[in-house]
Symmetry: C2
Amino acid sequence: MPANRQVVIASLPTGKLESSDFSTRIVETPVLEDGQILCRTVAFTIGAGQRAGLQGSASYAGAPVTGVVMGGTGLAIVEESRNPLLAPGNAVVAPTGWQDYSIHMASALRRVESATDPALELGALGGNGLTAYFGLLDIGRPRAGETVVVSAAAGSVGHMVGQIAKREKCRVVGVAGSDEKCRMLVEDLGFDAAVNYKDPEFRAAFKDATPDRIDIYFDNTGGDVLGSALFRMNTHGRIVCCGVVSQYDTANPGPGPRGIPGLLVNNRVRMEGFLVFDFLERYDEARRDLSAWIDAGEITPKVSEFQGLESAPDAFVALLAGATVGTTLVHVR
Amino acid sequence: MPANRQVVIASLPTGKLESSDFSTRIVETPVLEDGQILCRTVAFTIGAGQRAGLQGSASYAGAPVTGVVMGGTGLAIVEESRNPLLAPGNAVVAPTGWQDYSIHMASALRRVESATDPALELGALGGNGLTAYFGLLDIGRPRAGETVVVSAAAGSVGHMVGQIAKREKCRVVGVAGSDEKCRMLVEDLGFDAAVNYKDPEFRAAFKDATPDRIDIYFDNTGGDVLGSALFRMNTHGRIVCCGVVSQYDTANPGPGPRGIPGLLVNNRVRMEGFLVFDFLERYDEARRDLSAWIDAGEITPKVSEFQGLESAPDAFVALLAGATVGTTLVHVR
């Protein structure tokens, strides 16, 4: 069996995540048992939400431990199969983790046509695209002419949310962490406006960018941007709670925003959290839509690519520092 | 025309409200113009939410001013009418304010059968009962067997919420501010459990009272009780944001609860604010239901009564101090 390079969690971060919180080891690949499938990872994505998984109690994924392979969703090729459902050479999306080889039961795998476009399979048609789709359309329920604001707008989910909202004929305002990202959102992706939350004049710029206030705020960050959005919600507005990236990479998450729950009452605002897994039975429908919109040129997925398994810790740190746009993808070799 | 006693806002409270923030004056009742109706107030209710109206920016009712009659909803008798729709002797619910006489157009009045039961007309069948009805049933959407927690549970809205939830076959837990109120909730009103939030062991008692965690938290208070409830919400739980009584009687509302929005995401919680006015077109339906449930003995409305217009400031202070139960009612004379 081939040797298997693995990136493992060496220490749990107490403040900001560092590359040194991970280490690399080489182990032997176990022999397959009946029903199992050996997969070779082609590429995997990293999401900001995975930082929450290293925090313990705050995550839905349970308490983190060290000494285990860092988790993640990858695109892989079946190398060996002891299951009649899949054969060597088949391409699959799998919970590969950060390693060359992983072993699965067939139920954990999703067959895809080919392994040639990991960015599409893992990004726009993967968890990121599905999260944007269900969060905006099912939780946010946009109507034409409404104002949709999205935070972490240049991120894996955010850049999809904004483009789907444009398709729904909404006015779309992105909040991102650099002027360069803001330009990209408006010039490349067709956002109506974008505001840099690191700008000292952010509050004034945010107000200027939302002259009709906000009907849907798609929240990927929590924290100060949520706090600003709360004060600009229209009556019967909706806040889609998708992620809390402002609180992940720290040992001391701040208090909740002022105005909760008073502003929700006065403006009759609905604030609703969701996880994409709740929509599992509608993934195919969503993938068909997203695929058609991408083919029609209505949506342009973005990706930040890193080369080599060993680049994964740096990619994660870069992602959390806001140095990536779109889906963060690591090509394993 | 008769002389009209009025209680006016003398000063805007900067900290806790005091009786001295009000003063009394006697004015002449103006002569009626065409279409107007002169009403003599029999009784009026005071709600904790009216304290928010004295805070300015935090309220949906606009900025407060001094020198005006304190607002409020009353039961009144038509004394004189220059409108064919109403005749002297008719009983009406009206925005009387804290005074003997008030003048209205017919559109502001709701005719009721008689003025003999102001507690019922202004409480269980008035804004309090309607708020409980729509908030629990339409925003909370209870299912049999679910756990419903309500804060300010002995208050005007809370004690109705708990009883309606029992009718829906839910397990009902009240949070209130004294052991006496807690006993009343369980022994008189059939709550399954009640917890005193002033108890130093509140968190442990709250946990014990919600062994299956919480499906619906009906929030009349915000603040610490909301903070505790957030950490005990079940997956797909709902938080009905009805009032923020913990924040009304102070110059310095605290920050929002920790865990917003992270806990909403992880547990897929919906947190939704509402105002009863949004359900205006369904008031008749709700009154029919509430009336039938009261007649059947399934719901027992509670009332705290005060005698005399001059008692209104003390009644308001008592209400905010948690010294009343159910609807707070002032009989004008």
